[in-house]
């Protein structure tokens, strides 16, 4: 498989980084509700962004770093905590930290866990995600 992303070894525990931002629009929420049947809520005059849309958008911001195109084997799991409401018009950005990294016994792949702290335009922490992914290790590419 042709690879463009980074490898397991590129993510030692403690490595940090940040993404660009994305402003959530009414169309984002419209599309989300069309595919999900989630209800539409408002706080005062603001339209709430469904929590799973926050998760999807953060996944996209993280992907834009080119982290794992071609080197991702699988997403093992994810967990999320939603602290503050996000409304249409808010801009989300992410700061990531590698919290766990473990190589497989065959040394050809490894599991990396990222903490994805998600902030709005006021730098308020609105959500925290944990993403565990399996990445190709450099050894397998060198031998292939």
């Amino acid at each position: 498989m042709e690879t463009y992303g980074k490898y397991f070894e590129d993510f030692p525990v403690g490595k940090t980084g940040k993404t660009v931002g994305k402003t959530i629009t009414h169309s984002d929420v419209d599309f989300f509700q069309e595919i999900s049947s989630w209800p539409d809520y408002r706080i005062d005059d603001s339209r709430l962004v469904p929590e799973m849309l926050i998760t999807a958008v953060v996944g996209g911001l993280f992907n834009r770093l080119g982290v794992y195109e071609g080197t991702l084997i699988a997403v093992a799991g994810t967990s999320w905590y939603y602290f503050l409401p996000v409304v249409v018009g808010d801009t989300l950005k992410v700061r990531f930290t590698v919290t766990e990294a473990s190589m497989s016994k065959k040394m050809d792949r490894g599991l990396v866990t990222f903490r994805l702290n998600t902030y709005n335009q006021r730098n308020e922490l609105v959500a925290e995600g944990h993403l565990k992914i399996m990445l190709v290790a450099k050894g397998i590419e060198k031998s292939g």
């Binding site: 498989m1 042709e2 984002d28 599309f31 989300f32 595919i35 999900s36 049947s37 989630w38 209800p39 809520y41 469904p50 929590e51 799973m52 849309l53 998760t55 999807a56 958008v57 996944g59 996209g60 992907n63 834009r64 794992y68 195109e69 071609g70 991702l72 699988a74 997403v75 093992a76 799991g77 994810t78 967990s79 999320w80 905590y81 939603y82």
Partner: protein, 149 residues
Amino acid sequence: MKIKEKRNSFEELQVGKVFETEEKVFPEKNLILGILWEGDLQIHSDREVMAEHPFGDRIVHGSSVTTMALGLLFEMDPIRNTKMKLKQMSCSYVKPVYVEDAIKARFQIISKQVVSDSTVDIAFNFNVFRKDKDLACKGDVVISMTLNG
């Protein structure tokens, strides 16, 4: 169109109660919108590459599967008659889901915490199945529910 009824209590939502959702086919447009937000990684969009991958074909985004499963839960009585906020979600992915797979979910209440006269936090564990038998993912969610009106 479903008519929203005013809820009077959360008595029906007791620990141990199980919700089996209806089955729903995962349509291609959900994959495309997942790509819009999450990115068009080749595992989601390149059939040629994925034919050589252990998965055998492009797979849908895991979060889209969880989203659809939660949407099916939210349409069920008596949950659909409350105002809901997702507080926590965790999910482990067991098997991939493909476009046009039929999925359904089983949710069970594992705890219930009364926050106020009108709000409770309900924790569920859940399993999502594809093609009626394969476990695709499993996890837990905590949903804050508030009475309508």
